[in-house]
């Protein structure tokens, strides 16, 4: 029995950041890296299933990322993942979520898991599409924003619940193998002590290239993507002001502002 968990090392903004010269991302040195919060929950869900199962279950985490993501993968190993796979190739740079999903699907085909978990979204890009796109490449059933799950490893189907608007719960049965994107709050992720993280450093991380997965350069990067980031920028701050005084004063001031905004000289 095997559960594959797709994880991502996300970037968070440090104080006083700057935009990269090409204007498409934040300058690397202003980013703080950590495991995506949603992935913490999907990994925990997989590890919980493993721990409560009487049959042996293997939890494998996979990330499409450069070497710096090893730190987050080790954290996953410390929390109970049995193996970690990292896929990287310089050509992967610039991939959108669909191209990343293509790589993840290739890993899933090679691993043959009974279930694939992903986080609902990543906290840095927030496309919320990687997991679902992976299901599309695999041709597997999928469900998004799962907030509770009953699944016995090896079972033909699983039952999960989703929270809908208006306080409604949606209970759904799904055929396995399936791709589920896991919502925050489904469980309480465990703490990985520094000691366990250090011990996990001894566990190997399997590094795969595109060739290992029978993918080509055209499958990833900008050529393999359906979208491309044009620019990343800080929008101009909205300007608001409180106009005080009696109605006539307020009206005069308002008119003046409108004229200024139109570019009329006053």
């Amino acid at each position: 029995m095997k559960i594959l968990v797709a994880v991502k090392q996300v970037a968070a903004l440090d104080e006083d950041f700057e935009i990269r010269e090409d204007g498409r991302d934040v300058e690397e040195e202003f980013l703080v890296r950590d495991l995506n919060e949603w992935d913490d929950y999907s990994l925990e869900e997989a590890v919980k299933i493993k721990e409560s199962s009487s049959d042996p279950v293997e939890v494998v985490v996979v990330s499409v990322a450069p070497e710096e993501a090893d730190e987050s993968l080790r954290k996953c190993l410390a929390k109970g993942a049995d193996r970690a796979i990292r896929v990287w190739d310089d050509g992967v740079e610039g991939s959108d979520s669909v191209a990343i999903a293509r790589v993840l699907a290739a890993v899933a085909k090679a691993e043959g898991p009974d279930m694939l978990f992903a986080g609902v979204q990543s906290s840095d890009q927030t496309f919320a599409s990687t997991g679902i796109a992976t299901a599309a490449f695999l041709g597997w059933p999928h469900a998004a924003v799962v907030s509770s799950l009953d699944y016995s490893p090896g079972a033909k189907s699983a039952v999960f619940r989703r929270e809908l608007e208006g306080g409604l719960l949606h209970e759904v049965e799904i055929q396995c193998p399936a791709v589920l994107t896991i919502q925050l709050g489904i469980n309480t992720p465990r703490y990985a002590s520094l000691r366990s993280i250090k011990q996990a450093a001894a566990k190997p991380i399997e590094v795969k290239t595109l060739a290992d997965l029978a993918l080509s350069a055209g499958d990833v990067g900008e050529s393999g993507s359906h979208s491309r980031v044009r620019r990343m920028y800080i929008p101009d701050k909205g300007r608001a002001q409180l106009i005080e005084g009696d109605a006539a004063t307020q009206a005069r001031r308002l008119a003046q502002i409108i004229r200024e905004f139109k570019g009329d000289a006053t």
């Binding site: 440090d14 104080e15 703080v32 309480t188 703490y191 002590s193 520094l194 000691r195």
Partner: protein
């Protein structure tokens, strides 16, 4: 036998040979049971893990003897109990030595070498000394009975804050029965000893060597006079003597046989515990040995032999129970009960011939003898328990080592989990960017040197709270201005500094502590300086006492002694004596941990403040509740917080104007407690640094500090 020159102790006179033989048989049996018991106890300790003790054995023994003979530790904070125990101790010791010397002559020296010394003047003086010793012991015992039976001291109440009425181990009545059995046994042995002495005098009243010297045993002689006047004849005295002899003797033998199995064993275990004491037990926590598979304490066999001995040394005197700030506010923790629970657990599992299976050795949990995680997380590691324990029980390292196991299992408050992750990620508990660590310097009209870039005389280790907490930043800026004013060549590590790790270590996250300590030590290695100064007692403690274990050896001072020296050297001068009526809160990590009691008080005097100490001050200072990582764990809603308890104590000082603290966390805790206890407006909470600033005319940074 000549009756005139051989005045001596009457032993087996007129005993049938069979009875003498029976007595010896019983005596050897009692000693045999005693030795078996000692073996079982030692086997129990040896089932703990190994520990090498540093320092010389001679110094340890000397230290122990000094404490036992002076009763210094028993006397503290309870002179009545100390005095009574001293009487019992010396009385018992003299009576024991007296009896032992009888055996020495009668059973060893005389039969083997024909040496007799128990006669003549020597015997008479000894007889007098032992009679007085008996009075001392009985006096002490009777006072202890009064104390237990009538004074109803809360610290002698065995009801547990971590159990509910109805739980099998809620108030442990077996302890009360044992206490009384112990007292009564010794009292009866004492009284029957005197009556036996009296009966012997009445019985042998015709013998001048006995009767004429009777007043050398004044208590016995007085009772003999009384018995005589009540009509006891010499024959009756003989009968009474024989039956009392057996009763007294059997009771004494039973007492000896039971020593290793009852609280009486504290005679040995308390002395041994004092001997193996670690003077830095709470200040410098033990590292996790490389070879250890799981960190911390999970099973009873994970304790060191010394810790198992500690458990047995506890005399249930309740001083830690009384001093514990968690217990005082109703948290489910009493250091006494942690120790007693573990002792019950150790006795149930480690005294049997074969060790029970591993599953039965797990000390974490809610069953009798186990310690619940709520109990362990209630501890503030303030060291009040370790500091006051008369027999050197070291509670704090035990609690922290048990927490290490909880941290490994993730069994902790979610907010604490978050904080630890935050510290790991950013190096500080505020979750702020590393870059912002030195941001507080920006408003200063002078530049604070980056000690990583240029050599400084004084390296200031700022610490998390002083760096990031907005209220504390103001104090930090004032301290910088004072240093600048005094012409001190100082600098900081800016973003090279991380949380010092003191509280992370006390939480039990040893791996993260190692990361923090190593990171700071390597940052310090990249700076050139002569001495370290900090305003944070927590950083002060770990850098001073714990970094040396990681290769970081520095000279470090808390700001109170540093400022005091600046005044002494004339670098700072008081322009305006303040004249406030103040009280001073000793921070645990400055006071109890590092004995920094005087410098802050001297500073208060220097700036012209009147100091009224609270009842709980100096070594008995009452923790603000923030220690041991508790600042990151919310206190239960509705219950009193230690800081509130403390502010109420201060509020009772008539005319109090300023409640003075000298620790960033204290400022946060007590300003909050001042508001929540409704004392706002009655007096204020201030950092000592702020008072110094008010008294010293600071020219350079006037605008900033106005």
């Amino acid at each position: 036998v000549s009756r005139t020159d051989a005045v001596t102790r009457i032993l087996f006179e007129a005993f049938p040979t069979a009875e003498v033989r029976l007595f010896y048989a019983l005596g050897y049996t009692a000693i045999g049971i005693f030795c078996w018991g000692v073996y079982v106890q030692i086997r129990k300790y040896r089932r703990g893990t190994a520990l090498a003790l540093p320092g010389s054995v001679r110094a340890r023994v000397g230290d122990m003897i000094g404490k036992v003979l002076s009763h210094r530790t028993v006397d503290r904070r309870d002179h009545a109990a100390g005095g009574a125990h001293r009487l019992i101790f010396y009385g018992f010791a003299l009576l024991f030595l007296g009896t032992a010397t009888i055996t020495l002559q009668y059973d060893i020296l005389e039969p083997l070498f024909g040496i007799r010394f128990w006669q003549g003047k020597f015997y008479l003086i000894f007889s007098l000394v032992l009679d007085i010793a008996g009075v001392a012991m009985l006096g002490g015992l009777l006072y202890m009975m009064y104390r237990r039976g009538w004074m109803k001291l809360p610290k002698l109440d065995y009801a547990r804050p971590d159990r509910s009425p109805g739980d099998p181990d809620f108030d442990r009545p077996q302890y009360r029965r044992e206490d009384w059995a112990f007292l009564w046994t010794l009292v009866i042995i004492g009284f029957t000893g005197y009556f036996l002495e009296a009966a012997r005098l009445v019985w042998l009243q015709a013998r001048p060597d006995v009767w004429d010297t009777r007043w050398w045993s004044p208590v016995g002689a007085a009772i003999a006079e009384g018995l005589g006047s009540l009509g006891l004849t010499a024959h009756g005295g003989g009968v009474l003597r024989l039956s009392l002899w057996w009763f007294h003797g059997l009771l004494a033998l039973i007492f000896i046989a039971l020593i290793p199995f009852t609280k009486v064993k504290h005679i040995f275990t308390a002395a041994a515990s004092l001997m193996v004491r670690d003077p830095l037990a709470a200040q410098r926590l033990p590292r996790v040995p490389e070879a250890q598979a799981t960190p911390g304490i999970s099973k009873i066999t994970d304790f060191t032999w010394k810790q198992l001995l500690n458990l047995d040394a506890c005399t249930k005197c309740g001083r830690c129970h009384e001093a514990c700030p968690a217990r005082a506010v109703g948290a489910p923790l009493s250091p006494r009960d942690v120790i007693l629970s573990l002792r019950e657990f150790a006795n149930a599992t480690l005294e049997s011939g074969t060790l029970p299976p591993a599953a039965e050795l797990e000390v974490h949990g809610k069953s009798p003898g186990q310690v619940a995680m709520e109990t362990l997380w209630s501890c503030r590691t303030c060291m009040a328990c370790v500091e006051i324990c008369p027999v050197a029980v070291e509670h704090v390292p035990i609690i922290v080592q048990m927490r290490r196991k909880l941290v490994e299992d993730g069994a902790m408050d979610p907010l604490l989990t978050k904080t630890l992750q935050t510290i790991h990620k950013t190096g500080n508990s505020f979750g702020e960017s590393k870059r912002k660590r030195g941001a507080w310097t920006k408003v200063l009209p002078f530049k604070v040197k980056d000690a990583r870039k240029e050599p400084v005389d004084v390296l200031w280790f700022v610490g998390d709270y002083a760096s990031f907490d907005p209220r504390n930043q103001k104090v930090t800026q004032i301290f910088a201005a004072l240093l600048h004013e005094a012409g001190v060549d100082f600098g900081i590590l800016y973003d090279g500094e991380s949380n010092a790790g003191n509280d992370v270590r006390r939480v039990g996250e040893e791996g993260l502590y190692e990361v923090l300590a190593e990171s700071n030590i390597s940052a310090l290695a990249g700076a050139t300086f002569n001495t370290i100064v900090t305003t944070d007692p927590h950083s002060y403690n770990t850098i001073r006492n714990e970094y040396p274990d990681f290769g970081g050896k520095y000279e470090i001072q808390h700001y109170t002694s540093f400022l005091k020296k600046l005044f002494a050297d004339g670098k700072l001068e008081v322009g305006r004596p303040l004249g406030f009526r103040t009280t001073f809160h000793d921070p645990c990590h400055l006071g109890r941990f590092n004995k920094g009691y005087e410098a802050p008080r001297d500073l208060l005097r220097i700036v012209g403040c009147e100091l009224v100490d609270m009842k709980r001050s100096r070594d008995n200072s009452f923790c603000c509740g923030a220690g041991g990582g508790r600042i990151w764990i919310p206190d239960p809603v509705g219950s009193e917080k230690p800081a509130q308890n403390r502010i109420r104590e201060a509020a009772a000082i008539p005319g109090l104007e300023v409640y003075v603290v000298s620790c960033p966390k204290d400022l946060t805790m007590f300003e909050d407690a001042l508001k929540t206890t409704g004392n706002e407006g009655k007096f204020v909470v201030k950092e000592l640094i702020e008072l110094v600033r008010e008294a010293v005319p600071v020219r350079q940074a006037q605008a900033l500090l106005a």
